[in-house]
Symmetry: C2
Subunit: 221 residues, 2 copies
DNA sequence: ATAATCTAACTAACTGGTTAATTAACGGGA
DNA sequence: TCCCGTTAATTAACCAGTTAGTTAGATTAT
C-alpha cells in the first residue's frame, strides 16, 4: 500500500509537500552546521534529494530559505516554551520549570540551538530577519517571563531583581553551556555533553538561578 | 622629518612590520564581522591597503590568517585577565573584580568578543584552532579561577558550588548580554549597549553572581 | 490540454590562491 | 664614492574552481 495522496490537489510526479519539507529540513541542518555564508545550496539540494532548481521554485533565494529555516526553528522553540508559561503554577515553580524545560529542549535539539545561536550573532550585523524573529518569538516569551518575575517579587517570594536583566541571565546560564561545550571538552578533558554531565549542569543551573532569585531568610525586603 | 627606519634590517619599499600588522588588524575586523566563511580576502587586503598577494606572503592561507587573528584576540584577553588573577585579594573580592574587569573588557572590545564568540561556535564543527586556543588561553584562566573558588569555599566565604559549573556560569552571564544585545534592542526598544544600560547590567551581573556565590546567614555549611 | 512539479544543463559573477615581474634598500668590491 | 648583485617587500594580472541563481523543457495527475 502506498501513502495516500491526501488532499494534495496537484498533478505531477512526487509529493510537493514532501519535497518542500525535505528542502526545509535539509536547509535547517546545513544552515545550523555552516552558517548562512558557509551553507551551500548544492549541499542542501543533495541532502534533500532534490534538484537544486527546486529550492528556487519553493523559495525565492538562499536568504529566504534561511528565513524559513529560522521561522521553523524559532516557532518550534516558542511553542514548546509557551506551554510552560500557560500552566497554572506559582512563580517560583514556574520559573524553575521553565528553566528546566528550556534546558532539556536545548539538550535535545542541537540543530535548533546552533541555528538560534548563529542568528543571534548575525543580528548584530544586520540580519534581515531580526525584526520578525524578535517580535514573533522572543518578545512574547520575554514579556510573559517578566510578568511571572514581577508577580514573584510582589508576593515576596523573589528578591527584588530587575526582570530586564534577570531574564537574559537565566537564558544565558542555560544556553552558554552548550555553546561552550566543545571548548570545555578540550579544557577539562571530560565530555560536557555526556548524559551525566548534562544532568549535573541542569542541577547546577537550577541551583544558581534559585540562589539568585529566591529571597533568603533575614534579607531585607 | 620622516619616520625613522628603526632597526628594520631589510631592503625594500615599505615597512614590513607595518604591512603585516595592518593585514592582521584588517583580518581581525573582517573575521569578527563576517565569520571565517563570510570573510573575503579581497576585503581584508583592501582594508589593509595592501595587495592581496601580500596576505599570502605573510600568511600561508586564509585559515592561517584566521588563526593569527584568533591568537591576537585571545592573548589580549588572557593577558588582561591574568593581571587580575595575579593580584593578592581575598577570594570574594577577586571573583567580583574578575567579573567586573571581564565585563568592562568585553564592553570595550566589540571586535574581540565577536571573534571569540564566533570561534566558540566553530569549535563545535571542528575548528583547526580549537586545541591551541583552549590550551593556551582558556585552560590557564579556568584553572586559576577554579582555585580561587575552592579557596573561598574552604574558608566558608562561598557556598559549596562546583567550580566546573560555576566558572562557565559566570562567563555566561557576562558574555551573553552582549551576544543578545541586538535581539534585546528589538524586543525591549531600549539600546542595551548605551552606557547607562551597560552600567546597569554590570551591577546586575555582579549582584546575580554574588547572590549565587556567597554564603547567606543561616545556611548550612 | 493544462497546470503544477521537477530536472539537466548552463551562466555570470565571485573567490581563494598563484605567478612573474618590479621596486628599493643593503653590502661589498673597486 | 660609485656601481652592482642580492634579497626582502610588494604588486598587477591572472587562473581554476566554486557558487547562487536561471532557463528551457520534461513529466504527470487531472
Amino acid at each position: 500500500m502506498k501513502a495516500a495522496p491526501a488532499k494534495s490537489r496537484l498533478g505531477s510526479r512526487g509529493r510537493p509537500e514532501e519535497s518542500r519539507a525535505a528542502i526545509l529540513q535539509a536547509a535547517i541542518q546545513e544552515f545550523a552546521r555552516e552558517g548562512v555564508a558557509g551553507a551551500r545550496t548544492d549541499a542542501i539540494a543533495r541532502a534533500a534529494k532534490v534538484n537544486k532548481a527546486l529550492l528556487y521554485y519553493y523559495f525565492k533565494d538562499k536568504e529566504t530559505l534561511y528565513g524559513a529555516a529560522l521561522d521553523y526553528a524559532f516557532s518550534q522553540l516558542k511553542d514548546h516554551m509557551m506551554q510552560i508559561l500557560d500552566r497554572d503554577l506559582p512563580p517560583g515553580e514556574k520559573i524553575r520549570t521553565y528553566v528546566a524545560t528550556y534546558f532539556d529542549f536545548l539538550a535535545d535539539h542541537k540543530v535548533n540551538r546552533d541555528l538560534v545561536q548563529r542568528e543571534m550573532m548575525r543580528a548584530g550585523h544586520g540580519s534581515p530577519h531580526l525584526q520578525r524573529i524578535a517580535k514573533n518569538y522572543f518578545q512574547p516569551l520575554f514579556l510573559r517571563l517578566g510578568q511571572v518575575i514581577r508577580t514573584g517579587i510582589a508576593s515576596g517570594e523573589f528578591r527584588p531583581v530587575d526582570p530586564l536583566h534577570f531574564v537574559p541571565s537565566m537564558i544565558a546560564l542555560v544556553v552558554f553551556y552548550f555553546t561552550s561545550a566543545p571548548v570545555m571538552k578540550t579544557v577539562t578533558g571530560f565530555d560536557p555533553l555526556s548524559p551525566e554531565r548534562v544532568a549535573e549542569r541542569r542541577a547546577a543551573v537550577l541551583d544558581f538561578i534559585s540562589a539568585a532569585l529566591f529571597r533568603h531568610e533575614g534579607e531585607r525586603r
